[in-house]
Symmetry: C2
Subunit: 279 residues, 2 copies
């Protein structure tokens, strides 16, 4: 399991690294960021995954997310993967920010020409965790997951499908029901085809309707988010959780938009919330 170090910088007593590896799932080189906080020799630390949104790479949250102070305080590793396969061999939808590169939607695509490389579900669920377990001081029995927008969708769906693995699930301004909104209809339709039944395992609200359960969810959502009404629709998640008996804390944050200024404001809260549940 080879991995190359792209960069490492000391930060808040720990190390913010960027690494690359050849992914079997995507068939491409993949970059990811890992922050390892200061820790005692030999210690194994809980892991928080942060899945990023449309157009992002690993770098956006690494530069703008302001998670390191909280991760250092609570002794939590944060892993930030890329959002799609990359490279000249990977088919793309040029001039579309919401599909193709930068917009993998955390699915394993089944439609051509996407099926070969666009395997972000298996990459995040299986391949990258194996690499993290092998190469970092990570306690893989204590994992939480969060993310933003498309990455919030990723965190909710991956968390709901793998409740045995993720003890804590939260999200910032997530796409909660991609089957019911333009971003999701476009992406799931093209990656997965017209059969909407196949979309349900990539839709947090549908997963809950179909029986997936986690004990609780934390969601922050800005009221001034330009995508709130058309794309995000947190009320659909609230209703599904209520019906399912999932304790969902959905905090409408007055005046906040969809940017990293919003994310960074509530990042420390989320890190602390996960840390409390990861022990």
């Amino acid at each position: 399991m080879t991995m190359e170090t792209v960069s490492e910088n000391k930060a808040f007593g720990g190390t913010q690294g960027v690494y690359s590896h050849a992914s079997e799932e995507t068939g491409t080189g993949m970059n990811f960021a890992v922050y390892v906080p200061p820790h005692a020799d030999g210690a194994k630390l809980p892991v928080l995954w942060f899945l990023s949104g449309l157009t992002c790479t690993h770098a956006n949250v690494m530069e703008k997310g302001e998670y390191r102070a909280a991760c250092a305080e609570h002794g939590v590793i944060l892993v930030a993967p890329d959002t799609s396969p990359r490279g000249d061999d990977v088919p793309d939808a040029e001039d579309e920010y919401d599909f193709g590169k930068g917009a993998g939607f955390y699915v394993d695509a089944t439609e051509e020409p996407w099926a070969k490389h666009y395997r972000m579900r298996s990459y995040i669920e299986r391949e990258l965790p194996e690499l993290i377990a092998a190469r970092f001081p990570a306690d893989m029995d204590r994992q939480g997951i969060t993310g933003h927008s498309m990455g919030g969708h990723g965190a909710l769906t991956i968390g709901l499908r793998n409740a045995d693995r993720f003890r804590s699930v939260s999200a910032f301004a997530p796409i909660v029901a991609p089957s019911q909104v333009p971003w999701g209809e476009k992406a799931l339709g093209r990656y997965l085809g017209d059969d909407r039944q196949a979309w349900r395992e990539y839709d947090a609200v549908a997963l809950i309707e179909d029986g997936a359960r986690v004990p609780e969810l934390l969601v922050d959502q800005g009221t001034a988010d330009q995508f709130l009404e058309e794309q995000l629709k947190p009320e659909l998640l609230a209703a599904a959780c209520k019906d399912a008996g999932i304790e969902a804390t959905i905090r409408m944050q007055e005046g906040y938009d969809h940017s990293y200024y919003f994310i960074s404001t509530f990042m420390a809260d989320h890190v602390a919330w996960h840390a409390a549940r990861l022990g």
Copy 2:
């Protein structure tokens, strides 16, 4: 005094804004960033200036500096100016990252072709403070100043020349003696000419040797900074302060480099340090 709003985003309960105006000093449009923390109606808040380093604009510290949590906690406005005049009319030294655009060195240039636009000293010392005073809830009797690298040089020299105006002066990895290092010799020589006597008011160590005084200084400097030995030389500042009776706290931070990972780690400390002195 016209000013345009480029963007405003809610963050940590306050507003991170980017603004532009037509500068008389530089003869160009100038952008700057201001974070105004949450505050009571009618309150006037202390102001901390952050001057950025080579290649930077206002945006680097705004995105990577992680100052907003501390500014919100302590009720401090942070102002981040650009580092040079900009625009097609402004002469530049292309392919030189350490001179021309992005490298104004906080001087009023006297040599051609730089003298007309490269007036960052007067811009920071006079023009922009007037705009800040007029347009933001700022108490200009409570100002502190800090900065990074070339901007650390700017903070130290502007602070030393205007001790009546800046109650607190700190820096991250500053160029403390530009007259004695390659970055500074190049920039001061070309902006100001060969007469090294004219450089002394733009050299923190020389200013202290010539009698400038502040009660105290706080400097953080990473030991793994790639520019430490050739360009930064904090030992020269330590010696000058010792001779002058200035209480200089120069903290050598083990393993930190010259990046924003270093700056962000110690930013909250600096904000708190300034806030304590600004009352």
